[in-house]
């Protein structure tokens, strides 16, 4: 089954996950790397033009060998020096890692880069792209041979909770033990659904909005039962705001409050 996440379970029973990079992102990283190689060759060409005035034979030979070494060695050098990243991968926050979470070895880097020759067949990385698309872990042929995968580390964007929740009294916070229990019982996907519903509230049709927040509030009310004085008279949407406030602002200090304090 194709998945966008690589899960590794340690012998201690801990599971950690790595997000896998898709073929399109990897193509863009490769394209940036090709631009870097072209730029390096252009600079070298200018330098060697001067050398050509002294010894043309030697200058051309140096250019041929430099192109060969740079085009093949670029990926090997950077992935080794930057622990699985080239310039393109760094910019797009991608990284080559061992498929079983082991330490990435030099041999693996060499094999995955040399096998680009077959991944590039018959043209424009068709074989590699097709394999990557069909493979459950998005591996091209070089990755399969080297036991590597390319993961992505997206920047985790913090939602602007201050804008969403500031200035509202949260009755649920009056019961810290129940708030803590709520944080413990709500899973990450559930919390995300609640947050996304609030962030996109203006996009909904008014009737659908009332219905959606009603359903969500009912769902979260089943997680922890707060005393009636904390929930009576609180609209479903406001209840959900209070829940998100408890889940995401666990330290109880908003950015606005921090700024004010400063």
């Amino acid at each position: 089954m194709k998945t966008s996440t690589l899960f590794i379970r340690t012998p201690e029973g801990i599971v950690f996950s790595q997000l896998l990079a898709g073929p399109v992102t990897r193509f863009f990283a490769w394209f940036i790397d090709q631009l870097c190689i072209s730029a390096a060759m252009s600079v070298l060409g200018i330098v060697l033009n001067l050398l050509e005035l002294i010894n043309s034979n030697f200058a051309i030979a140096l250019y041929v060998i430099s192109y060969f070494v740079i085009s093949i060695g670029y990926g090997i050098f950077f992935e080794w020096a930057w622990r699985g990243q080239t310039i393109g991968k760094k910019l797009l926050r991608l990284r080559v890692v061992d498929v079983e979470g082991m330490r990435l070895q030099f041999n693996q880097i060499v094999v995955r880069n040399l096998l680009r020759f077959v991944d590039a067949l018959p043209a424009f990385y068709f074989a590699g792209g097709l394999t990557c698309w069909l493979n459950p872990q998005c591996q091209r042929l070089g990755d399969l041979a080297a036991n590597t995968v390319v993961i992505r580390n997206p920047r985790v964007a913090e939602p602007d909770l201050d804008q969403l929740l500031a200035g509202k009294y949260n009755s649920l916070r009056q019961y810290p033990h129940l708030a803590a229990r709520l944080r413990q019982r709500v899973s990450a996907p559930e919390a995300d659904v609640a947050l996304q519903a609030l962030l996109r509230r203006e996009e909904f049709d008014p009737v659908a909005r009332v219905e959606l927040f009603g359903d969500l509030a009912a769902h979260f009310r089943t997680k922890v039962e707060f005393p009636a004085e904390a929930t009576d008279g609180v609209a479903d949407e406001q209840y959900l705001r209070n829940v998100v406030d408890v889940l995401y602002r666990t330290r109880g200090v908003t950015q606005t409050e921090k700024t004010a304090a400063a």
Binding site: I8, T10, P11, E12, G13, I14, V15, F16, S17, Q18, S56, N57, F58, I60, A61, V64, I65, F68, I72, R83, V97, D98, V99, E100, G101, M102, R103, L104, Q105, F106, N107, Q108, V110, V111, L114, L115, R116, F117, V118, L141, L144, A145, A146, N147, N153, V156, H177, A180, R181, R183, Q184, V186, S187, A188, E190, A191, L247, Y248, T250, R251
Partner: protein, 338 residues
């Protein structure tokens, strides 16, 4: 379990930072050997951070802290559970004189297979040119090989000017890079379950056999040996070794006779494949120099006997090197024997 997140992060942070520091050191200093107390501390920090990750995974918020801990646990897991030998400083001379020939011998059956496929190609090319000389343009689609051998030899021996004068270095470098690319390609085609590697080796054999028979039939055996031997005795084995590496890859993919999973089989041979292909590169650099600076010069500039003798000496040295160098010394990696 209810977690006070603020206190949880404050309590865990010093340990996470310490683990991160140890990981940075381990990754930046490949030769670092930890003492027993350091190892115990490292293991303790790993277990503690893994336990913290398990705790925070149950929480709905704090995605950044979770991702940070996942990253730390992943790095430490790789260090602790890695069973392959840690990479040490690279010693080029030791690698060339010991690791390369030992690796070659360890997988010599794949080399014999590579030789057999090439010889089959040679036989096919030789027989084809014998029975159908008109097939020459099909068998050898290279303009410089299509000429009548006797005519070419006469032209080469009459030449008074050095036709490579002024671009010998460029010619040499082009030969090296071209041959190395072909070798890498032959290796990489092992991923086609060996079909591509076999085709490459067979086709190389066809050209070699056709050229050899063409010159022998024209009575130019001495010229042929003088022309091909100085660089060919290194270049051809280099391509055969690239084929050996490609076949090793194919055999690991097929996994016949092995119960190990595919990942394990590929992991076992990847180091050896890299050693062989780097060895091929070294041999082809030498062959490129010889081809540009020696092979292209014929009688009366250089006597054929001298060129043939040079080639024969190279062949003996290469054979001795591959068969004997590094024997009696402990292999560096613990890869499986064939």
């Amino acid at each position: 379990m209810i977690v006070d997140l603020q206190r949880f992060i404050a309590a865990g942070r010093p340990f996470w930072a310490e683990l991160e520091g140890m990981l940075d050191r381990l990754e930046s200093e490949p030769d670092l050997r930890m003492t027993l107390p350091q190892l115990q501390l490292f293991h303790h920090l790993y277990e503690r951070t893994a336990a913290d990750l398990a705790k925070i995974t149950t929480l709905s918020s704090e995605p950044e802290t979770r991702r940070y801990l996942e990253n730390l646990v992943a790095r430490a897991y790789g260090e602790i559970h890695e069973t392959r030998e840690k990479q040490r400083r690279f010693f080029p001379l030791k690698w060339f004189s010991q690791t390369l020939p030992q690796t070659f011998r360890r997988h010599v059956r794949a080399f014999y297979l590579s030789v057999a496929i090439t010889l089959a190609g040679c036989a096919f090319g030789g027989l084809a040119i014998t029975f159908d000389p008109d097939a020459k343009p099909v068998l050898m689609p290279f303009s410089h090989l299509l000429q009548d051998p006797a005519k070419r030899v006469a032209e080469e021996e009459k030449a008074t000017q050095d036709r490579l004068a002024g671009f010998k270095t460029t010619f040499s470098v082009e030969l090296m890079t071209h041959n190395i690319k072909i070798s890498i390609f032959t290796l990489a085609l092992g991923m086609t379950w060996g079909v591509g590697t076999i085709i490459m080796l067979f086709y190389n054999g066809v050209i070699l056999g056709a050229v050899a028979v063409d010159y022998i039939r024209a009575g130019q055996t001495k010229f042929l040996l003088g022309w091909l031997m100085p660089h060919g005795v290194v270049e051809i084995p280099a391509i055969l070794i690239a084929g050996q590496a490609g076949l090793m890859l194919a055999l690991a993919l097929i996994g016949r006779g092995s119960r190990a999973p595919l990942k394990t089989r590929l992991r076992e041979i990847s180091g050896d494949i890299v050693t062989l292909i780097f060895g091929v590169g070294v041999l082809l650099v030498w062959a490129g120099f010889v081809e540009a600076f020696l092979s292209q010069y014929h009688e009366p500039v250089i006597p054929y006997e001298a060129k043939i003798a040079f080639g024969a000496i190279e062949l003996i040295l290469l054979s001795l090197f591959l068969a004997k160098s590094g024997t009696g010394k402990k292999p560096e990696s613990g890869n499986r024997d064939e």
